[in-house]
Symmetry: D3
Subunit: 319 residues, 6 copies
């Protein structure tokens, strides 16, 4: 468990996560679970625990909430030395209510004016943060936070490519943060500088207007449109809130090969962050042995993540 140079660098917002216990509504709660989470932090942790040393880059307010988030990242071994700290702004918060059929999970975000949304272009020294990295990963949430966050995301991607790292992006469209038109404009630009795109059929249609009769065709269209090396599509079926089936497929554009991961039947404890665990697991497997191990680890880690609480994966290669 030696901490070598970080091979994976992820960039995005991490927030305080508050959730009522025991399926309570917020109005019924008297205590809240107090954790941290964020798509790219979740992905970094999942990858790091699978043996791909990871660094998480963000902007955080210097107060106990910001420190708590850094502590959680460090607890799981993720490098936090390139976080940009500020005395201004605030730490975003989200509230998760866990459901039971027919009531779905709900998430209430209170993330406006967070330190990450107010990041200023150039505030992060990407040369330093990315030196030695083989992979850079972010999601469609980060550029959706604010125009300056979008600009900084593109800056990071360009520096990553210049320094020889592969770029992975999880499309992850969030209707509460921006419109489909805004997303299409920014994400098209980002996708065209991306090597690996992780997405779902629905998001692909909503953001890029790309649809096709089969997953394989969607993947091929995406790869062609944005000159991608690989497209990964995750597949979830949810017969109820407490049960899930989860799988994925990948299209290796260089080899023109489609790979299908096995499907897992899952008893769901907490599905928040499962997509991020997939991304982290994919990258760790991909770094170790290519796309096939990537989708297998991605699906496996994501399935395990849903069997314990909170955003972070605890899975190791042995699991």
């Amino acid at each position: 468990m030696t901490q070598n140079t970080s091979k994976l660098v992820t960039f995005g917002e991490a927030m305080v996560r508050l959730s009522p216990p025991e399926f309570r509504r917020l109005e019924q709660a008297h205590t809240l679970d107090f954790q941290a989470g964020g798509a790219e932090l979740n992905a970094a942790i999942a990858a790091h625990r699978l043996g791909l040393p990871a660094r998480f880059v963000t902007r955080l307010t210097q107060n106990p909430l910001g420190h708590m988030i850094e502590n959680k990242a460090r607890e799981h071994g993720v490098d936090t030395s390139c976080i940009a700290w500020t005395d201004a702004d605030r730490v975003g918060v989200y509230f998760v209510e866990f459901g039971a059929a027919p009531r779905p999970n709900t998430v209430l975000y209170d993330r406006r004016d967070s330190a990450m949304a107010h990041v200023r272009l150039g505030e992060i020294d990407w040369e330093c943060a990315l030196r030695g990295a083989d992979y850079f990963h972010t999601s469609g949430i980060t550029p959706a936070l604010s125009p300056s966050a979008a600009a900084e995301t593109i800056e990071a991607i360009r520096t990553a490519r210049r320094l020889g790292a592969q770029v992975s992006v999880d499309l992850n469209y969030r209707a509460r943060l921006w419109t489909q038109a805004e997303a299409r404009r920014v994400m098209s630009q980002i996708a065209s500088e991306t090597d690996i795109l992780i997405t779902t059929e629905e998001d692909t249609e909503r953001v890029f207007g790309i649809a096709a009769p089969s997953y394989e065709e969607v993947a091929r269209l995406l790869a062609r449109e944005f000159a991608l090396d690989a497209v990964v599509i995750t597949l979830r079926e949810t017969p109820s809130v407490w049960r899930n089936a989860w799988s994925a497929m990948a299209y290796d554009a260089r080899a023109d090969v489609v790979i299908h991961a096995p499907t897992f039947d899952i008893e769901v404890v907490d599905r928040v962050g499962s997509g991020d665990a997939f991304a982290g697991g994919f990258l760790a497997g991909y770094a170790k042995d290519g796309i096939e191990l990537g989708v297998r680890w991605g699906v496996g880690v994501s399935a395990l993540k849903q069997t314990y609480p909170w955003d972070f994966s605890c899975a190791t290669p042995e699991d």
Copy 2:
């Protein structure tokens, strides 16, 4: 959320509810969840949250347990200004153990000699409590508590009708409180002064000896026997303790029409109070748009209630 005049008035006993966490038996518990509940209080809360301003009438002992119960009612917006307070008697208590197949939920009641059972005829000023109300609701539990509670229930029903309110009764037969013969004698009298009867097939047979090959027929027989405007029959299937299917049908006697609600598959967190939530949901929907919305809201609210803990519904029309 302005508190206007209460349009619905409910009458019955509310108790302290104590339950062990995490499926423990009482003998395994070291802490108990401390809540309140009671059929008519539950119904009032469900209705109030759906937009039908509600008042709950009961008799309570003036001590921290009684105050806690009033607090819970007020927390959900229910009017408590007509509760009859006494320094005598006690607050009833019930203990709920949550099961898992093949072990069912069990409830241990310790409600003897409660303030509500000792209500004296005339102790509640029904003229005042019911003024302006459109609906009065109670259940078969209230008259089962004691002869004086039965007398006061009938007094309330008569005053309600005199003042122009419709009367709704949830049959709710409790074998631990009275015999079928006692129930038949009192409930027949009450049913004959009722407008809307909510019941199940089993209770109808046990209390009134009325059975028929179909739900529709049972409803028709009931409507004819007691000159009811509407009969509502709830339908529950329980393949296991953690899963449930829940639906209902209503017979509109004035229009001679049968209405079927959709069926919900439910992952059960806490089914205690789901019948009461149905009653409250039915009345709110009925008040808003007649019997059809009534059964739809009744079933929907009841399904949602089972997805979070405790007796009370948190559902709003949006849910």
Copy 3:
């Protein structure tokens, strides 16, 4: 830790004890600590843990609450084989709110119509329960529960004396259960058949109307009035709710000697049951080495009991 014959037999009511955590008022609580307690059960446990094998006799309703109480007694090694079980009546409950200066602790009792209050004279086989016992102990609470409980108490005391056991009584006057006149009538009769009386200055004056300028004189007057072998007076100073000073004195009437125990300064976690722990500790020390060790152990155990939660002592001779 071999369970030999019980040398001490105690008799009284045990109840469910419910208390809010963290100094909350009952109206603020959402969970309650769920424990058991009762003066004579507490005394039996304190004595048993100090090496005096003890049996607790009571009457309990056969339900999970009654079983929980028996379980707690057994957990601490106390023999429960002579409990009288019934399907009728109920298990008493009391609610404890913990205070902080200037707010004192408060206790809300809900014990009416308990199985113990409804004990019928002759229902307990005292010949069997007391065979081989050297000491019988009860408190002024037991006869205060009901006339039949008082009659059964006197029956137990007489059987104990007949079988050669010494009788110890903790005066423990409870104004909520009976008047001073009632208490004086019954307790005078009981005291006259008692060997060891444990009391406070205030209770002595309220129940027997006996007062004197010094503790020693009060003890002498009591010993003379009721032909007692020993009188033990406990002394508590309470500068605040969280701090206490606790001591005791004993008058050995046979030797006409007064013994003073050391005083303990106590940081109070839970003072409920400290008087009962004193009685149990006194009896264990007295059985081992006479009155002097009795008061020392009584005060020591009582001080330790106040440093952890709930009614029961966990102290051992080494402590």
Copy 4:
């Protein structure tokens, strides 16, 4: 406990209150207590429980956090029918860390851009909210939230006076919200339309630059400067974090009389909100029997509030 017309109307911000249990730092917490609080809500609850029917007016975002705050107000009986609801903005949050000597309590506020700070002048119908009220109360926090909140506060005070209500203001200077110069400008205007001013020696000097050798003299100077009917000065000594001494004095300007309340030695469970409990207790006592009962109830309620957790008083006149 009948809900008559509200005699007291308070106006201010209420927030979600999150606090780690067991003296933990936020960085150590895994759960947070989830409550509500706010100076004027706290005061309304304290007064209402002492028999002065109270209404709380604020602006809240329509989401589960806003509803939770309304629920808590209603739970304690406070009227919430004049709250202004909005779909915009957010609900403020504050985090409380409980200390132990030599570490003081700390509070981290995250209240920027709250619905209350964004209240628009005229958004609240003060004619309606204040009709029938005898007292209007607010604190120096409300006008400090934003210029529009200050304007609305002055609007409320003028309407209150026009409708015949007395105006009470708790000076409560918060350096994190505005400068002393800003505070002086606004609070001088408010004080000159106030009848009763509650303050401390320090705040008086910081906000108004008024100091004098004795509390009495400070009170006289304030009364003269702003033509006040009464000035109340609270006095706290804090020998440690877990112990407190608390008292108050009042100057009755109409009678030119100084009244001193007794001093309470307090074992502190939670001192947050104790000043607000004082204000509510003062108003309830004052409404019942004038300034002397006001300061006595104020100090007594405030002392009791510190002996249990959270912002709200549970005290009743009997306590």
Copy 5:
């Protein structure tokens, strides 16, 4: 519930059981549930609660952990008077992580050098411990702990048979404690002095190398090989982690009859200890009415045990 002479004596190790709540991994836990467990203690409790008075014999270190284990045994009524106490060695500990599909439960043992493993031959007075007993029960775990534990197990079995008790053994092969070769050598010797063998198809093959096309045949082969009176085979199907089907069959070698128990579909709260509950339930039923009631009670109690937490059965004959 009178404690008569113990009719069943069980022998084995009891340990402290620590488990994270809410499906957390150990790395995610901040509190652990603190209970006790051990195959033969679990069996003794299950049998005792079903009316077969039981004694548990083990060796324990004299410290709060050892006392806690004794307390738990006594709480459920089991006699602990023949436990061998020592100041040396330690109390074993095991950590249970609860899973959700596709993640199974995991158990981490820290039991090396426990007091039970270090038991010395002859340290327990079996003459005394077994006097009056009708049944002696142990499992394949006990002899696996150490050579001296194996020797003491054989000593106990021989004494039991000499004193006229029937010997029951649950094969329970634990690969972490010994090899199959070691197990076969010792368990063959033990089985040949056993009357009733409880086992599974897999363990039978792993330990004795006995396999056959049907359960019935396996049972017959075992009975013939070791001259057993009865062979009981438990049957579990686990479609997922939260659902289970559980049944058993018994072969009555004296009557040459095969008995099948009904199958239960189980919603699993905690399956740890379910095999031990089966053994205890079997013995209680067998003692009451022979093998048929034995397998019925065994399966029924085992099913119920899985519906509440911790190792111990709470089931009574009524359940």
Copy 6:
């Protein structure tokens, strides 16, 4: 908060720490707080949070308990890259019971055969672990664990000195681990290769037989005997369990100057680890500005540590 090279390296055992909540005895607990602790880990965390980058070196078993300990170290920023991992041995555990006067805190250790005690000489690459470090710190606990741990400690100290780091040792005599004679033999050797010795008057006398009428004289004698640069003596007064006074003095042998730290009156939440926090605080202050800031930070951090739970300091320079 950038993680530069570790300037401080500490070496010792870290264990799982389990403690009952709310002043319960272990026999009363149903859950235990699950944390980590260890003298040198505690010191590393205290120093790191005060700005002295720290690395913790130990030997740990590769299982969830070992990983949990590493996670906690990382959470607080401490470098764990030189921990020696093994599949053998076990992770030590200790149980803390919190007291209240007159009952002191008690600690039950279960640390025998831990991975750290079984460290083999040469197993840790000290050249690598210590490169770039300015300070090496350990305590008298580490060499007491086993002869091989003592040998490895001396190896570390010698390597540290060779690489130019100053060596700090906290004498910390543990009678449960070794005799005074053993301690004197090993610690004399260690002290003679030490630069800074942290101790108490009592430990100095017990281990080295050095006593004198004043602290200053004790410090001078120690400095002379072992050619130390600095001697730091901590001073604790404990009027009760919940209150403490804490101070320290230092003797700067090079300057022949005595420095006294201020005294703090402390309301104690958890005093476990306060001595270690002192050591860490001292080293951080010493590294920043010499001995005087060292003792001031040492006492200050140690006082703060006692005001929140668990072994680790959360204090920052601002506190």
